[in-house]
């Protein structure tokens, strides 16, 4: 991953600490190039997380939703392509069934110095409008300061039994 020295990137360790503080036990994931080095590999080696590797992202939506029935907390970590492929599962399980499905989505192809709305990638530009059309709350995680909101957002998602998406616009380091 080539990093731009003039840009601040979020800390993978700080994100993991925020997830632990939010009592996330399970990470359910299909690998994503944006979060691979800074999050998924460290998570895979951290005994405080249980990693479930899934073949396809919509499996993860169901797994996280089912886990929530006994208040087990989980995070689905994936790329925006997986998010797009899982929209019907998110619609049914996250929205219609009002289950707290929390997702962290790496934006593959996004330029670190640009807003996603200004990206040259169509696949990147449409993510926030799609989430807004589905009335799914989200937070963009790009700078180190953005990480401080993760724990509270997850707490709110589980307290209100609602789905939530973290959009990772810059690769965690």
């Amino acid at each position: 991953m080539n990093l731009n020295k003039d840009i601040k990137y979020p800390s993978g360790q700080a994100i993991m600490d925020a997830l632990k503080k939010a009592h996330i036990q399970f990470i359910v994931s299909v690998p994503d190039i944006i979060t691979s080095d800074g999050l998924l590999w460290p998570i895979s080696k951290d005994p405080e997380f249980k990693l479930v590797r899934v073949c396809k992202e919509d499996e993860g939506v169901s797994i996280c939703g089912a886990m929530s029935y006994n208040k087990t907390r989980a995070l689905l970590l994936m790329q925006q392509t997986g998010l797009m492929d899982s929209l019907n599962a998110i619609r049914a399980i996250g929205i219609d069934y009002q289950l707290p499905v929390c997702m962290m989505v790496g934006l593959q192809g996004k330029e670190p110095h640009k807003l996603s709305s200004e990206s040259s990638s169509y696949g990147v530009r449409i993510i926030q409008p799609v989430l807004e059309a589905m009335q799914i709350p989200y937070r963009v995680i790009e700078s180190p300061e953005d990480v401080q909101h993760i724990t509270a957002d997850i707490e709110t998602a589980y307290q209100t039994s609602s789905t939530f998406v973290f959009i990772i616009g810059r690769a965690p380091v």
Binding site: K56, V61, S62, I63, G65, Y69, N88, I93, Y97
Partner: protein, 187 residues
């Protein structure tokens, strides 16, 4: 083997298990064995096996039974590999194979009479695979199958028997989910 009769056999072996079922098998099961530990809200598109895996991993001391459909499994084949890799010993996965999308007009599934779900499960890495096409044999062997550590698959070669009403409003209701949630907490 008639599905309703097979489900009546299964009822004799179900006490505190978490049961995830789909489509006509779910509607029949709800009529034959209504109970709050029935998990009815799987969305669609073959997600029952993934819900079952989530329940099994989050509730390792409870047995989870998934009553899946053949068309449903075809929509989520990767979940067989995911389940085998996660290897929950408390997950038993039944596929009720009738070769058609029964609630969507009874059109044939791709690979009707060709696809071998048992072979798929075995190749994916399930610990145990059994195939049942005869009710008497199923009655005799189901207890032993359920004693096997999961992930285990039973391919149920079935035909529709008595088909019970399809109450979609209930299975998608907040009431059904809340009943399951409360029953799970008490169990």
């Amino acid at each position: 083997m008639r599905r309703d009769l097979a489900l009546k056999v299964l009822k004799q072996h179900v006490t505190n298990e978490l049961v995830v079922a789909v489509y006509q098998t779910l509607f029949d099961w709800l009529a034959i064995n209504p109970r709050d530990l029935n998990y009815v809200a799987t969305g669609a598109m073959g997600q029952a096996s993934s819900h079952g895996l989530g329940l099994a991993l989050a509730n390792p001391k409870k047995q989870v039974l998934v009553f899946d459909g053949d068309g449903s499994v075809l929509m989520n084949l990767g979940s067989l590999v995911t389940i085998a890799n996660a290897a929950p010993d408390n997950l038993h996965h039944f596929i009720f194979e009738n070769g058609v999308y029964e609630v969507n007009g009874a059109h044939p599934i791709p690979g009707q009479h060709i696809v071998d779900f048992g072979a798929m499960a075995k190749a994916a890495g399930y610990r145990t695979v059994s195939v049942f096409s005869n009710l008497k044999t199923f009655e005799l062997e189901v207890a032993e199958f359920l004693k096997q550590p999961g992930p285990a698959m039973a391919v149920m070669k079935i035909e529709a028997g008595e088909s019970f009403p399809r109450n979609y409003d209930y299975i998608h209701s907040a009431l059904a989910r809340e009943k399951f949630r409360q029953a799970l907490q008490k169990s």
